[in-house]
């Protein structure tokens, strides 16, 4: 049997792995991406289901930001149509949120007194411009110090659960302020007309154009090390087992799985302890629904004050190719009642039923025009994000030349797809800096 060798093995074809693979392949490294499923992209992918282009996770794609500039930098196609102005559904009315001073606008519509709104705004402005909140206080408790109005809290809950996939009592006020500072709001996103899979597909073209390989239905079953340094991996395909030599491994399967692939005994106890204590998945409920006609005119609505639903998307308003002719696709995202309860089957059922009840209550015609396509809970091994914001682990593992990428190793201030792409870029740049001599040699150091 021939032992194959590569400079870099990427485990998993999610956007973190594909981003790193594209940069390194373009720079001359010999790259292999091993994906266990028959399709690429992981949670940034698309499935044709009942003639609708359903998502496996990613709904909107950030535009005019890090994802777009990264794609341009490596000559990858970035075909995303802008969703335009954000809209908000509050107290039965659809509001167009201005790009400038959107927060103040929303608080004004929340029904709270002028004094409460002023107090909240000045606390926000002080936190952003002068001194951020102390560590240890949740956003919920921090807001409650200023105002106890439920409408105000609902605005924050909608923002945190949509953008950061956590409830307002599950995130530190400090992290939220840093997030607002760095991302400067929640504007500028769009949809890929062929679905989110368009993004990993574009990166796959870059990888393959530059001599990289992508293997599907290829499961990495083990990572071999020597003296704490990466040496190779075993990849199982349908008919055989391949033993490959590699110098660097980038894992996009999540830090926990990465440890399993090497074997726990090769990791320091403090690393394992930090991983177990910090890594808690951020969960999200995602409903995909076929519609005979649009439920509302806009392509995206942030929802305030519903029991579970926090955001509704109708990508087919601007990308009609995602549904059968004349039909529309509705994607509803929702925050579960609590992470703890999600472990229970009955509670998951109840959460989904509550989401559907929310839709019925918000839009009386919902039942007449809708067909439920998929109701999924993204949690555990298929989460919204592998770690809650601010509780990530570092990209580098205790094994030399073994890195993690993806949403378990996000950098502060980043969330969702931009965070994942950023993690791949950072690891690729680190490899370029440390191991420039490696390019194309395929020899272990």
């Amino acid at each position: 049997m021939i032992r194959k060798s590569y400079d870099v093995l990427v485990i998993g074809s999610g956007m973190g792995g594909m981003s790193a693979a594209a940069i390194l392949a373009k720079d001359g490294y010999r790259v292999l991406v091993a994906e266990q499923m028959p399709r690429i992209g992981g949670r940034c992918s698309t499935i044709d289901h009942k003639e609708y282009r359903c998502t496996t996770g990613v709904i909107g794609v950030e535009t005019k930001g890090i994802v777009e500039s990264f794609f341009k930098s490596i000559d990858a196609d970035f075909n995303t149509i802008s969703a335009g102005q954000p809209h908000y559904l509050m107290n039965g009315k659809i509001l167009t949120v201005p790009h400038h001073a959107g927060m103040k606008f929303l608080l004004k519509k929340s029904g709270a007194s002028a004094a409460s709104i002023d107090k909240t705004m000045s606390a926000m402005s002080k936190a952003l411009k002068w001194k951020e909140p102390a560590t240890g206080i949740t956003l919920y408790d921090w807001i409650r110090q200023v105002s106890k109005h439920t409408g105000i809290m609902d605005v924050f809950q909608t923002l945190t659960s949509t953008a950061l996939m956590v409830n307002v009592d599950d995130i530190s006020a400090q992290y939220f302020i840093r997030f607002i500072k760095e991302l400067k709001g929640l504007h500028n996103f769009g949809y890929c007309p062929t679905g989110a899979i368009e993004l990993p597909n574009a990166l796959a073209r870059v990888i393959q154009r530059n001599g990289g390989e992508i293997w599907l239905q290829s499961k990495v079953t083990g990572i071999t090390t020597d003296n704490g340094i990466v040496q190779g991996a075993v990849i199982k395909t349908s008919d055989k087992e391949h033993t490959i030599d590699v110098s660097v491994i980038i894992s996009d399967t999540g830090p926990v799985k990465t440890v399993e692939l090497v074997g726990r005994k090769w990791f320091d106890r403090d690393y394992l302890q930090e991983m177990t204590q910090r890594l808690k998945p951020a969960e999200i409920i995602c409903l995909q629904i076929g519609l005979d006609e649009p439920l509302f005119e806009q392509n995206h609505l942030l929802i305030s004050g519903a029991k579970r639903i926090n955001s509704l998307y109708q990508p087919t308003i601007i990308c009609p190719e995602m549904a059968p002719r004349g039909k529309h696709l509705l994607i509803a995202s929702a925050a579960p009642e609590s992470s703890e309860l999600l472990k229970d089957e009955k509670s998951r059922k109840k959460d989904i039923a509550t989401c559907l009840a929310d839709l019925k209550q918000l839009f009386p015609k919902f039942d007449q025009i809708s067909t439920v396509l998929l109701t999924g809970v993204y949690r555990d091994q298929w989460p919204g994000m592998r770690s809650k914001p601010g509780l990530d682990v570092p990209s580098k593992t205790p094994i030399i030349n073994l890195y993690n990428v993806g949403d378990g190793v996000k950098q502060s201030g980043y969330t969702g797809l931009p965070a994942v792409v950023k993690s791949g870029m950072t690891v690729a740049q680190e490899i370029q800096k440390r191991m420039g001599f490696l390019k194309g040699t395929s020899k272990a150091i």
Binding site: I47, H49, R348, V377
Partner: protein, 67 residues
Amino acid sequence: MITIDQVLCASCAMCVTTCLEEAISCDGVTTVNTDLCTECLECLDFCPTGALTFRKPQKENHDPKKL
């Protein structure tokens, strides 16, 4: 027959989309309708958590009884 490990299953509903017979449903809990399932095993490849497995029905034990 296809069995689901409910501890491993996240109920992400990915398997639902792979089944041409519409034998799998998920409303927070994933279930397989064995009357509709043709055991094509397509769903196994798409389960991200490894919760789905195929088990051959156990044959009846015809070993002679020992005294």
